[in-house]
């Protein structure tokens, strides 16, 4: 079946005319043929773009075994009705909702073509899924939540204290990033947009953009840029996982863990500031250059920061994961099984806590992964809050090891001036995958015959994993919702774009 597709690698630039274009029925059967083998293949992006009155659909399927991507296309006229993939492949449901929202295409057997981010319709008139039962009640939360967090609406249908169903409505954060990516024609402006997709994943998204843009210009990325991006990704992972452990402790009223993990994040993000002048590493990742070289002094500083961090982090972690009062709240709360994770196409950390190996660092290596760092994903199988907490703990320790390895491979020169022109190759497609701390990040760009970007698609791991939260809380007590939510800590802005 895969011979019907164009085979590419992560970050490989390919001419658009080399993508095979099929009638929709044929396209459907070829794609379906691969996607039904869910373990090996998963869709990393499926999107449309308009040329005149026609819509071109692009399917990108990752083959985790072969470490490659398969691409195919279909061209369909406006206002068509199409057979839906989601009718039999749940993991495709959101891609089709997005295509429906953007182009009005009807998918005949789609279970629910609910708006994804209300980019063109009003959120205020949205009618939630509800129940007529007199025994059930509904609870609405948001868009503004109690803490200092981003907006989104959660609608619960409960039987007493028990959650029967949760519907999450997002879109409040929609800033129109994908169209801005197309309309701004300056590299720095686009880089800033990438930095702001999700500020907690500045490094992840900006790396995806920078890797993509360099391929799009046919630029051979020098070692020092790969080095800085790899290093920064692992630092970001440590910082955010530690912050999440702090938040999880807060939600089970474990003050000590909350305070200690909370303050442990500080030296890590302060290190970003020492390196790049910003605690979130904004300014650090740039296509074709790095404004802030990673000196030997910084390397020594980082080792010292990590040594101090690790002692306190491990001490606190060992205490937390042997504390019966915390464990009794974490274990068997918000559980997902591995079949559900596979069927719904969950990615990143959420997949790995359900014994499903999804990790781009391993399956589609980029930057220094697969070279200096041969990454083995850490896997857990209980799929509950405990697994999501414990995976973070173990991944932090793994990332510390990676950083210690990386500092032995310091670049001896840094590219401080970019030689990029800002002009992308003509008629080109690039798909860029990155494993952010939440999971799989996918950026795709397509240029026209003049080298102008005509589509820029961004997919944060939250695009898939919000569904995991909806499913994980079913049959749990509503009072456990906050801790379930924290254990996923999904991105609103990364989803809404």
């Amino acid at each position: 079946m895969n011979k019907y597709f164009l085979k590419i690698k992560n970050n490989q630039a390919v001419p658009v005319p080399s993508i095979p274009v099929y009638d929709y029925e044929v396209f459907y059967s070829y794609c379906y043929g691969l996607l039904q083998n869910k373990k090996r293949y998963h869709c990393v992006n499926y999107f449309g773009y308009r040329i005149e009155s026609d819509i071109t659909l692009i399917m990108v399927i990752a083959d985790d075994g072969e470490q490659c991507l398969y691409v195919a296309a279909s061209r369909i006229p406006n206002n068509t009705r199409l057979k839906s993939f989601a009718g039999s492949l749940s993991a495709m449901e959101k891609f089709e909702r997005e295509i429906h929202e953007q182009f009005g295409i009807e998918f005949t057997d789609h279970p629910w073509l609910k708006p994804v981010r209300h980019s063109s319709s009003s959120l205020n008139s949205y009618v939630f899924f509800s129940s007529d039962s007199e025994e059930l009640h509904e609870v609405g939360v948001g868009p503004i939540h109690a803490g200092i967090i981003e907006p989104g609406h959660f609608r619960f249908i409960c039987n007493g204290e028990q959650i029967l169903s949760l519907e999450i409505q997002l879109g409040y954060q929609h800033r129109g990033i994908e169209s801005l990516m197309v309309n701004k024609n300056n590299i720095l402006q686009r880089t800033l947009l990438a930095e702001n997709i999700a500020g907690d994943t500045t490094v992840g998204h900006t790396t995806a953009f920078a890797n993509l843009w360099e391929s799009l210009e046919g630029y051979n990325t020098p070692y020092d840029l790969h080095f800085c991006r790899t290093l920064a990704q692992e630092i970001e992972r440590i910082a955010m996982h530690t912050a999440d452990l702090s938040a999880l402790c807060a939600d089970v009223a474990y003050q000590l863990g909350n305070a200690v993990f909370g303050r442990l994040r500080t030296p890590i993000i302060n290190f970003f500031q020492e390196w790049s002048g910003n605690r979130f590493a904004k300014g650090l990742i740039r296509p074709g250059k790095v404004l802030y070289p990673f000196s030997d002094t910084l390397a020594q500083r980082l080792l010292k920061v990590l040594d101090d961090f690790e002692t306190d982090f491990v001490e606190m972690g060992e205490q937390l994961f042997s504390l019966p009062s915390a464990l009794s709240r974490f274990e068997k709360t918000g559980t997902l099984d591995s079949n559900t994770a596979l069927r719904c196409g969950f990615v990143g950390m959420v997949a790995r806590t359900c014994n499903l190996s999804r990790d781009i660092r391993h399956s589609h290596p980029y930057n220094l992964y697969g070279k200096t760092l041969s990454h083995e994903p850490i896997m857990l199988n209980s799929g509950d809050v405990f697994a999501r907490a414990f995976l973070r703990y173990k991944e932090v320790i793994q990332s510390i090891e990676y950083l210690r390895i990386l500092v032995n491979y310091l670049p001896n020169k840094f590219t401080k001036q970019s030689s990029l022109s800002g002009m992308a190759s003509k008629n080109t497609l690039v798909v860029s995958l990155v494993e952010g701390w939440r999971g799989e990040i996918c950026h795709c760009a397509i240029t026209d015959h003049q080298g102008k970007v005509i589509v820029y698609k961004i997919k944060d791991p939250s695009f898939h994993n919000w569904k995991a939260l909806e499913l994980a809380v079913r049959n749990n007590e509503i009072s456990d919702f906050p801790i379930c939510n924290k254990s996923f800590n999904l991105s609103y802005c990364g989803h809404d774009l």
Partner: protein, 249 residues
């Protein structure tokens, strides 16, 4: 129990005793200094991704600056960023730094409404509204309350309900989809109340300024009590801005 006490002891002292005179570590892009060096001004202005640099004389508008560092990297003889993090002000114009200036960002005490200092000086409760914020400003506002920055020592706290709040703190460029919720939240806050804009996105829209998906009419309708520049604003910038507003420092 003994283990917990040990852990507690290992943390040592983590809080910053003096938030006004503290030093931030490493390099930090705080208040810029613009020298009188001669450079190609047009090229300099065009370097800036958010049109924060104005020509003749060269000025940087901290309300538009996303602190990307590009101008300082390309024109190091002209622009340098200092580690001065006290860059918040109650006047929009004060955020514009001109060539040759090297003094703290102005704060206009006279322009502060009387009731703010009368009522909120020792206790200020705030409701945060993220309206298209990218979660970095939100994380920094959370950090302002952590054990390092410990903002609550000044009686300043974030609360869950606008009904309990004395004002709102807005982050993000204000997405159209959040504009109604923001308006409702503001109306639910009892008078007198203040409005704080935290971060470049909230102050000017930042890189999203010309996006059709944002709606900044809220900002045009009300007067703003405090502007806190940054991308995101550093917790110390936020805390010092508030202390100034309350007349405590």
């Amino acid at each position: 129990m003994i283990k917990s006490l040990k852990i507690l002891k290992h943390q040592g002292k983590q809080y910053i005793p003096d938030v006004v005179n503290a030093n931030v570590p490493g390099i930090f892009r705080g208040r810029p200094i613009i020298t009188s060096a001669k450079v190609d001004e047009q090229a300099l202005c065009e370097t800036c991704p958010t049109k924060a640099i104005l020509p003749a004389p060269v000025r940087i508008d901290l309300g538009r600056c996303v602190f990307c560092g590009e101008c300082a990297a390309q024109f190091p003889e002209k622009i340098q960023f200092t580690r001065d993090f006290k860059i918040a002000s109650n006047r929009r114009e004060s955020l514009i730094i001109a060539e040759g200036e090297d003094h703290p960002v102005n704060f206009d005490d006279k322009a502060v409404r009387k009731e703010i200092r009368q009522l909120f000086k020792h206790s200020l409760k705030l409701r945060q509204v993220s309206a298209g914020g990218d979660n970095s400003a939100e994380l920094e506002l959370n950090a302002a309350n952590n054990v390092n920055f410990d903002m609550s020592r000044f009686g300043i706290e974030f609360v869950a309900s606008p009904r309990h709040a004395d004002g709102i703190v807005i982050t993000g460029p204000i997405s159209q989809n959040m504009s109604e919720a923001l308006q409702l939240c503001y109306e639910a806050t009892p008078e007198p109340k203040i409005i704080i804009l935290a971060g470049v996105d909230a102050i000017s829209g930042g890189i999203f300024e010309d996006s059709p998906a944002i709606d900044r009419s809220f900002i045009e309708h009300y007067s703003i009590d405090l502007y806190v520049p940054g991308n995101p604003p550093h917790p110390l910038t936020f805390i010092n801005g508030l202390l100034k507003l309350l007349g405590r420092k």
